[in-house]
Point group: C2
């Protein structure tokens, strides 16, 4: 079934592991063991249940639990062993590495305390340290393979948005419209979930906020959240019917081979009132100002500042990044295997951008109890600027409705 | 927007908190603080970012961070305070409770170790203990309100399945068919995600396995997983085109107001070959045998054993719950706000069932490299048996195709 199920190139995985080993040596961490699924996927090429042990010097070992045959076929790691339980991990490491490491990095940002204690018990002579920031730093810089997959996801997004424009009708509920877009997205290869590295946050594609839905804030760290379907799903598309001439914000991420892109466009049935069109043009200028300044070396906080200044110049500061008193302090987020990969284009992000970093830049305006207006694209930092990975037009998507 | 966004009844939330307080007293835990979103939702009625402090004796406090207005409106807890950061939690607890508890329960099964340490630092004089099993035990027994919501979700499932039968055509890919079902499900109120309490497992509705896809095992703890879309999504619907006369397993969970039901039926375009029909009848008999024995007091392991014995009598042991060498040791899982709520109808589950417990019972057969045949329904334990919450017919869903 190779034509319908693409493996991650094995050389891609090996290059990632080599970069990790270099980083471990630089940071003075003797070895690391990755347990969380997207970290394991990044370093092996498979999501089959497994662990990957990577020493700063020496050969990595991929310990595969279930399904062993699929995991072995998909893995780009040379040394693979089948295990039935994680209790077998230390023994295999000892055999392969010659000893147990004195310092072992694990993912303290996501491993539940109960799970962490199990690993402490399995490595009583090792000091467990947090290796998540180190790996996330590597993951933030994408390879040409990863950028190509994301660009492909961007093309799916473009098709889904054009389809949405064609089928949108007055009176459709936000959630029914979202469902039609999901059906199209599935047919074009969208994998359905948007993964997020978080205990309590979750992400999904169907952020369709029409008219006053766009003016509703929510628990998520975003300028607005929409009404959602119930207190248990209080974000995203709701049962509100979509009306003509309302500004409709469509923020609909796409995932392909594990890699996500995120993008937002404004839709309207008929003609959008001039005031909203003017605001849309203004927020596009904010996005362009930030993207024009983006290049290797600049920091997220510098770009965030440029956004603020441009919003000020455009006279939209009061509604920029949220209503007064409810503003967020970021305008973009890294994206890849998880929708909150580093870097963050945020007030406090000091990390200088590097070539190959990808992020979704989403300046947005919130008119409380009225509407949201915004734009979002996923871009990759190039040697001298950026390249857009969501190649869709920025003009309003007009539906005949 | 009340008619399109139903709040959890406040008396419902208060009754849950009272049950929790009784359990805290019984277990000798002085107080608990819940942080994880579904636990907080269960005990307050809102998913807005917040924490809930519940002492064994005294008044609970709901500490709401974002969005404060929405959280306050949705919460069934009387004492509510707005906070800007979790650093303010101990101060508010001291003011309300008169002191800081010596023993404080938190969710050690899901809280990342880094997060756990933050709470340790915030409560230096308190011993932090794991309160997750205690809460999950309460959550496993559903109230009449919860059962009514789940029964409503079951009716949505029934409509989605009948719709699927009508639109299924030969040559559609599994994922395209899944997308059409998702669109219908959204329009009927499905909230789109199936939440799961796990670091590495994830759940979603689109488990459509046609013909040999049903014979593919995967990393998930299930008899089969399907091919999926890529190594990053190696479970569920794939790009395989659906053919006439293939057995098609449709396992498509539905979520309403946060509550899930899970159900599986067999579909076929045209007539399913007799061998598969016979196997389907046999596995339905296994399901009925288990359900006939289900009543308060019986344990998950007893029901699991009845399933094994019935499969033996039916002559299907070799393919029951997985292919030889790859069998799972459960036949059902609790379900509610998360798809792995207790109880488990599993080889080792010793918990006696109680009235009000809900679970999805899913005996399945795997013909390696060939097909999967199975049935699944969500049921609630009643005083003298069970009631099915997925009220759909068990006969094969024939598509004209």
């Amino acid at each position: 079934m190779n034509t319908i199920y693409h493996l991650v190139p094995k050389e891609e995985v090996r290059a990632r592991v080599r970069r990790l080993q270099k980083a471990l040596r630089r940071e003075g961490v003797e070895a690391a063991l990755f347990v969380q699924k997207m970290d394991v996927f990044y370093l092996t090429g498979t999501l089959q249940r497994s662990y990957i042990f990577v020493p700063a010097a020496g050969e990595p070992v991929h310990l595969i639990k279930k399904d062993v045959a699929r995991g072995a076929r998909e893995s780009g790691i040379d040394r693979k062993v089948a295990i039935r339980s994680r209790k077998e991990v230390p023994g295999h490491i000892r055999r392969s590495y010659g000893k147990l490491p004195r310092t072992l990095g694990l993912e303290a940002d996501v491993l539940p305390v109960r799970e962490w204690r199990v690993w402490e018990d399995l490595f009583p002579g090792s000091r467990l340290v947090d290796a998540s920031a180190l790996l996330m730093g590597l993951r933030s810089v994408k390879s040409p393979y990863e950028i190509a997959v994301m660009a492909r996801a961007g093309k799916v997004a473009r098709e889904v948005y054009e389809y949405g424009r064609k089928i949108l009708r007055e009176g459709m509920t936000e959630i029914a419209f979202a469902g039609e877009m999901m059906a199209k997205a599935f047919a074009l290869g969208h994998e359905g979930l948007l993964r997020m590295r978080s205990l309590n946050d979750e992400s999904y594609s169907w952020h369709i906020l029409s008219g006053k839905s766009g003016g509703i804030v929510s628990y998520i760290n975003a300028p607005m959240g929409g009404l959602g379907l119930s207190p248990a799903f209080p974000v995203g598309a709701s049962r509100k019917p979509i009306r003509a001439r309302e500004p409709i914000m469509v923020d609909f991420g796409i995932c392909l081979r594990g890699y996500q892109v995120d993008e937002t466009r404004m839709f309207c049935i008929g003609t959008m009132p001039k005031r909203y069109r003017d605001l849309y043009r203004a927020i596009i200028r904010v996005q362009h100002a930030i993207l024009e300044a983006t290049r290797p070396g600049i920091r997220g906080k510098d770009l965030f500042e440029i956004g603020l200044e441009t919003a000020e110049r455009e006279g939209i500061s009061d509604i920029y990044l949220g209503p007064p008193g409810n503003k967020v302090s970021f305008v973009g987020h890294g994206i890849g295997l998880e929708i909150n990969d580093p870097p963050f284009i945020a007030k406090r992000d000091e990390t200088p951008l590097s070539e190959g970093m990808t992020f979704a830049l989403e300046p947005k305006l919130v008119l409380k109890d009225e509407a949201a207006i915004g734009i979002e694209d996923t871009v990759v930092v190039t040697r001298d600027g950026i390249r857009r990975l969501t190649p869709m037009r920025q003009s309003i998507y007009h539906a005949a409705g």
